[in-house]
Subunit: 292 residues, 2 copies
């Protein structure tokens, strides 16, 4: 039974998880591990019952949620085993999974590690912005160990809690996860950042302002993301991200060649590029059907 | 004095222009040239006073606004001269300007042509969705002839009407215009379409749905645009668009190389890519300052 939960770093995600558990009837105890200022805010927000140092929180916990940036998760995963109660479930919320799961595989012996990645967030960070409904209808990827076991024991119980707080648990391998998000998340981020950088260095800001409509603002919004999260993502998924960029560059090069050829060959404009636009439009409409 | 206006194609843009004129006190007469169904809707919406065939509307007009797709504007510009009253001002709303202005330069003799491009629109089209506030605070690019003259005569009066309806008139050369929008509008459109097409052909839809957050949906929204507008844009600005794609591909290739190199060289992650993210974030924040 999961009766004691340790949330390591009670920020937006950790704090929302604690509040969501409480909101949905979790009757056990929730420990928070964070700086004194954050612990105070987390207590005020009702995200935790008590702030404790990691050495005191983790040994009491049936479930340990690591809700830090990836680089900190990697450090903690490498050193947490000596603190774990036998059979404790350790999970995390890092945006890439291969390195974290590999480190856990060699480091965690006394407990069980299941990687996690909730597809939820906000532009504002910190427990002050936490929300018990943050995970509602959002995918929560889980990367179980090779032995599996998401359907029973502590891991099974954790999956049930995820469903209870409204999330949609979805099991994938760490390899599948990192490829999927390289295309669906890391590539779009780098497109937005690169577009902003090209405009910045090619046009006077005043001209871009004159010409900027909702389309451009939408395509550059992600470029406002904070780099401290992205440094870790780029560092832990570089091969997949580079492969996604390769595939995109190749495809965009084909589009460019077709635009150039369309000048002399109307068939390319009415046929090839028309099909590209139409099929992309259909795809996006289908993609949005579950989201609007 | 502009006392009679002919709006050729009373759709979203043409209809909004007619309603905006009326809303802001234009006391003259507004003729609409469109299909009988559209004329009825335009009369109902208060966008025009009367529907007329082009042969009857244009000869009476002091101002002719061509509010059709680019390919139709090109046709009309090529044949409208024989209908124009001496000194009439002809303008348009096409999203590219070089071809339209070049055609006008050789075809329009009895009147004066000033190219135009209001940076306003909506996802829904048709006069039913017209809005007298559509141009409020939006740039309205104008490409005056080499002889200039936006500060006097009919053209000067038109510029005053644009200001009166809330738009921000901005004079550029047709060449500058087409380069600017190739970067600020055409490139973002092709990035969204190409991203959607890559995802569609690389991942199962169900996987993309699981992984899709607001970021991905924002970066693919433009891909829902209708191709009948884009076919004309691609056909009339291919060199500039290809150049914008070239510049983007080169820059994205550099980003890919840096992501790959960052795996072995932490300096690239903390330095080069960090600077790219930070300066892009600053740029987008500055860009949005006038827009939010």
């Amino acid at each position: 039974m999961i009766e004691r939960v340790a949330i390591v770093e009670v920020g937006l995600i950790g704090g929302s998880f604690g509040r969501a558990l409480r909101h949905h009837g979790f009757a056990g105890r929730i420990f928070g591990v964070s700086s004194p200022t954050t612990i105070k805010a987390a207590l005020d927000a009702g995200a935790i019952d008590e702030g404790l140092p990691i050495e005191q929180a983790v040994p009491q916990a049936d479930l340990v949620l690591l809700a830090q940036p990836i680089s900190r998760i990697l450090e903690i995963v490498g050193g947490i085993d000596r603190l774990l109660a036998p059979g404790a479930l350790v999970t995390d919320v890092g945006s890439t999974k291969r390195e974290i799961c590999a480190r856990a595989r060699i480091s965690i012996r006394h407990g069980v590690f299941v990687g996690g990645h909730p597809m939820a967030g906000k532009e504002s960070r910190g427990v002050e912005h936490s929300d018990p409904a943050l995970f509602q209808d959002r995918t929560w990827f889980l990367t179980p160990p090779a032995s599996g076991g998401l359907d029973r024991g502590r891991a099974g119980e954790f999956v049930e809690w995820l469903r209870t707080i409204g999330a949609v648990p979805s099991a994938v391998s760490a390899e599948e996860h990192d490829r999927l998000v390289s295309l669906s998340s890391h590539l779009p981020q780098l497109l937005a950042t690169t577009l902003a950088s090209l405009l910045k260095e090619t046009l006077p800001l005043s001209d871009t302002r004159l010409a900027a409509g909702p389309g451009l603002l939408g395509m550059t919004r992600l470029a406002m993301s904070s780099y401290d999260i992205w440094a870790d993502i780029l560092a832990t998924n570089p091969d997949r991200i580079a492969a996604a960029l390769d595939a995109f560059i190749e495809r965009l090069g084909t589009v460019r060649d077709q635009v150039r050829a369309g000048e002399r060959d109307p068939q390319i404009l009415s046929g090839t590029l028309g099909s590209l636009f139409d099929s992309s439009a259909d795809f996006v409409k289908a993609l949005r059907k579950t989201h609007t």
